[in-house]
């Protein structure tokens, strides 16, 4: 191998515009979900997120996804 790759990568690139959909994958499905004395209860956040998902995914009965990618085949490598 070519020595340890030097990731200049770790720094944020100011001009890098990430795709909104990639961002939403992470911000709406990833991240730490906290409970506590919050303005929104966790259940409400979930509701919002799910309705939002429906908007983004917009899979309709007439146009179903050919893939039910129902889960990762292998979680760990």
């Amino acid at each position: 191998m070519t020595g340890p790759g030097r990731p200049a990568a770790a720094a944020p690139l100011p001009d890098r515009q990430v795709a909104l959909i990639d961002l939403l994958d992470r911000l709406l499905a990833g991240g730490v979900v906290l409970t506590g004395d919050v303005v929104l209860s966790i259940a409400d956040i979930d509701l919002v997120r799910v309705s939002l998902r429906a908007l983004i995914v917009s899979v309709s009965p007439e146009n179903p996804s050919p893939f039910e990618h129902s889960g990762p085949p292998a979680r760990r490598s």
């Binding site: 340890p4 790759g5 030097r6 990731p7 990568a9 770790a10 720094a11 944020p12 990430v18 795709a19 909104l20 959909i21 990639d22 961002l23 939403l24 994958d25 992470r26 911000l27 709406l28 499905a29 990833g30 991240g31 730490v32 979900v33 906290l34 506590g36 004395d37 919050v38 303005v39 929104l40 966790i42 409400d44 956040i45 979930d46 919002v48 799910v50 309705s51 939002l52 998902r53 429906a54 908007l55 983004i56 995914v57 917009s58 899979v59 309709s60 009965p61 179903p64 996804s65 050919p66 893939f67 039910e68 990618h69 129902s70 889960g71 990762p72 085949p73 292998a74 979680r75 490598s77």
Partner: protein, 301 residues
Amino acid sequence: MTTSTSEPVTYAYAVARAHPDLAPSLTGLVGVSGAPVHLISEGAGEEGGGDVVLVVSPVSAADFGEEGLRRHLEDLDWLEAVARAHHAVVEAVAARTPALPLRLATVYLDDASARGMLRSAVRLFSERLDHLAGQVEWGVKIYVEATAEAAPESAPAADLTPGRAYLSARRRRRNDLEASYRAAQEAADRVGDVARAYATDRAAHRPQQGVLAGDAGENVFNDAFRVPRGRSEAFRAGAAGAGHGLAGVRVEVTGPWAPYSFAVPQEDEGTRGTDDARSAADTAGADGSDGSDGVVRGATP
């Protein structure tokens, strides 16, 4: 319950390992509502306290209270502005110190309330921050390219009836598509090999669909990988090359990201999180499912 519109509430972006350079690096950085970002530290000033901090900024209660959020979150422009601002803060923090991004729109009544949350979970956060230190997330997506309509030769062969010509074109198109799905599976296997060599964890996202996905082809694989910084470039290069020599398949690598997809251990996430959204969307749209033994499955007409 309506919240007072005058008092701001506290929007939280990330939990991070305290670092002397963190606060200075955040000066001038504004959050989702244009207000400056600041740090809340639990036990600051106390002996041994303040090792884990929360990154927050004030936002309007009218916009980020329950009603406001409900109203705004269906507005894609508003959502994009908030998502990008949230991401910018997470990036700035993660560039300095290990960080756990929080889910979008994590809002507290005030800083004191946010501090209480931090205090109650500080040990968990600290462990997770240690676990993720020095690692980044890469996204890998595999697309089956929209076949160029399989060029059904515009003038059907003279010796075929229109019906046979149609069927023949259709069969050809289906064969092309099936070959592309097999190639996509091959690319996914290669990504798996690269992951075994360089990654420490893996999380599956739903393949992207819908208006936001655009016409980039059919996304059949959308996974995230956790990779130690030192192997980051090797992983990126390996994954980016996974489509090499495979027709009808495109591989896209995004990142490096802060560890959004790994902020919570996968096992714990299962009960509430990606799987909820996934199953909700599945029941909403997908027809029967028979589980998946492969990463990528061909469409069965």
